[in-house]
């Protein structure tokens, strides 16, 4: 019963999304850089190592607690580039606008993009604007691509996870997803649920300068923490064991998940990053992260283990172990 049409689940960042790219795009575009399967591309031009990444932003609603589509479009790509161990420098911004879209709102979004770019220290240097007929897109879609220079001596890759490494997360899960979802599901959140959308490149640069031994960096966006860790476990052929008590989820996010039947470990985050590093450097990494505005809640959430290969486990509060698989399709509200 294979599907011949794109379903919403293909966009959720889980296995179906993965398979779509694997079965259609990769074979068509086949090359070594793409095959390395980093979040962005790492390439070398005349001896200069560059990281290059792109993302499209279609979030609804356009404005939510803690951000908007513009801020997201800048931070998302800035972070993708940074997670390659690079300093992001320049972004492009392509807009697809629906006929009838209010110009005032476009101005707000563009201003927000500039604000985010300024904070990140990047420049939006080129772009494009297209307008399509009413109904052809939903308001506004933004694509950003970013390029940055990989820091000297740094080798970040999803293939670098090894037993003997700690896994560190910089804060609370699911905040972005819930901030965006609240309208859609008729939930009223307390003021505390705010999208964590933020540019992490400066924190990354600080970390890599102090601890160049950092092995893996990744931002758990679509598919959530569990999917991201599965990707890394698979790419590095190692096992991962997480500690449930250590994984920070706010009561409001947990409550919303309980109501809707979602799992916080699979929710998209926007201002979160995972760091894999040899245990001897953990204390230093934590010190730097916890001193940073986007890392105050950083903590060890687990470690790399030799087996089972490619699998992620979670030690539960009662002392059991649960296997954490990749997200397959998308999470849907359920009653069972």
């Amino acid at each position: 019963m294979s599907s011949e049409r794109i379903q919403m689940a293909h966009g959720s960042g889980g296995k179906l999304s993965h398979d779509l790219v694997k079965n259609i795009m990769w074979p068509a575009f086949a090359n070594d850089i793409l095959g390395a399967m980093h979040d962005g591309a790492q390439c070398t031009i005349n001896g200069v190592r560059l990281a290059f990444s792109t993302d499209s932003y279609v979030v609804k609603p356009l404005f939510f607690a803690g951000g908007d589509i513009g801020k997201l479009a800048v931070c998302g790509t800035v972070n993708d580039v940074a997670m390659n161990g690079a300093v992001p420098l320049y972004l492009s911004a392509g807009f697809v606008l629906e006929e009838g879209f209010p110009i005032e709102i476009l101005k707000r979004i563009v201003a927000s993009m500039q604000q985010a770019a300024a904070e990140a220290g990047v420049y939006i240097v080129t772009g494009d604007t297209k307008v399509v007929e009413k109904g052809a897109v939903d308001g506004i879609y933004i694509n950003t691509a970013g390029i940055g220079q990989i820091i000297d001596g740094i080798q970040i890759s999803g293939q670098n996870a090894r037993p003997g490494q700690d896994i560190i997360l910089n804060g609370y899960l699911g905040e972005h997803s819930l901030a965006v979802m609240s309208e859609r599901h008729g939930l009223e959140f307390p003021q505390t649920v705010v999208s964590d959308c933020a540019p992490l490149n400066r924190l990354v640069a600080e970390l890599l300068t102090a601890v160049p031994q950092i092995a893996v960096l990744r931002d758990p966006t679509r598919g959530g923490l569990a999917t991201t860790l599965n990707e890394i476990a698979s790419q590095s052929q190692v096992g991962i064991m997480l500690d449930e008590s250590s994984i920070p989820v706010s009561p409001a996010v947990q409550a919303a998940c309980d109501i809707l039947g979602f799992d916080p470990l699979y929710l998209a985050n926007e201002g979160k990053m995972i760091v894999f590093v040899d245990k001897e450097y953990t204390a230093e990494v934590l010190r730097i992260m916890q001193s940073h505005i986007y890392g105050r809640e950083s903590r060890i959430i687990g470690e790399v283990v030799p087996k089972p290969c490619g699998q992620v486990g979670l030690r539960t509060r009662i002392g059991g172990v649960r296997r954490l698989d990749m997200l397959i399709g998308d999470q849907l509200p359920r009653i069972c």
Partner: protein
Amino acid sequence: MLTMTDEQIKKAADFFTQEIARLAGQRSIRLMEVCGTHTVAIFKAGIRQLLPENVELVSGPGCPVCVTPNEYLDTAIAYSKDPQVIITTFGDMLKVPGSSSTLAQQKAAGADIRILYSPLESLEIAKENPDKNVIFLAVGFETTAPLAAATILMAEKAGITNFYVLSAHKLVPPALRVLLMSENSRVDGLLLPGHVSSMIGVKPYEFLIDEFSTPAVVAGFDPLDILQSIYMLVKQIHEGTPQLENQYRRIAPPRGNEVACRTLYKVYQAVDTVWRGIGNLEGSGLGIREEYRSFDAKTNIPVTVEVMKEHAGCQCGQVLCGTLLPTACPLFGKTCLPEHPVGSCMVSVEGTCAAWYKYGAGRWQG
């Protein structure tokens, strides 16, 4: 509401785990849970890891989606193709395979299918679309059926005439009876569904002791609730005194929710119905009463449904009765996967096979 520190939780869990092992001794014990939500909760808490090898936990037919025959899905899919119809459904149903398609695929092809959190949302949709027929896919056991009944009563009160229900509600106690009567089953104890019990109370389960002398515990869903319930069952087995106990008193009082049951049986009545993999069970389903037939989709909206096909080799029936482990099904993990399921045990989030696949058969091989 059970606020405890991590240390307290661990200590309590250790106590139950040790006692379960001590009381089980060398005896081979097989416990069955009959609530899909328990299936998932057990995996999520990693409970099997904590049980001795001789205490086995199997899943019964507690996933309402899984026990619904293909015909129901085929009917829903046929309705979704009708341009005058808006289908409203819980998210659970979206990816369930019918004979040749799923609601998710129909949605991708342009059908108006809307996921809701509460059946009441159907009424809003019906009011906003007076020229369309809104059909709610009413699936679930006694926890959910009263909600569909309440929604029908609300529709009647509000004079809404374009709201319909395609019902496949089922009752738990008749399924338990069939399970215990089956010659293949060997169930030493039952973990009873705590939330179904919050509706129907404890009395409907008395036959488990009176007729079958099978230990049974009404169980909650917190990891400690489940551990305590398993402990209570193993203790009964050890002492040789089968009883019907209630571990979930804080939420499932003995008399249940009488208003909910009255509401349910005002609109619905017990009917014979087919359980996938089990067959026709007398008085095990819910059908809309004559006086409310104007809300029944099949009575009022004509539809042509394709001839139902069950996939050859699908063993969902046996898996549902706990007589076959998912890993023993020849299709499991090969042609039957979460991303393209053959049978419903694999597609529903709480289906036994989906749970086994996702959580890796429950024991971490570290």
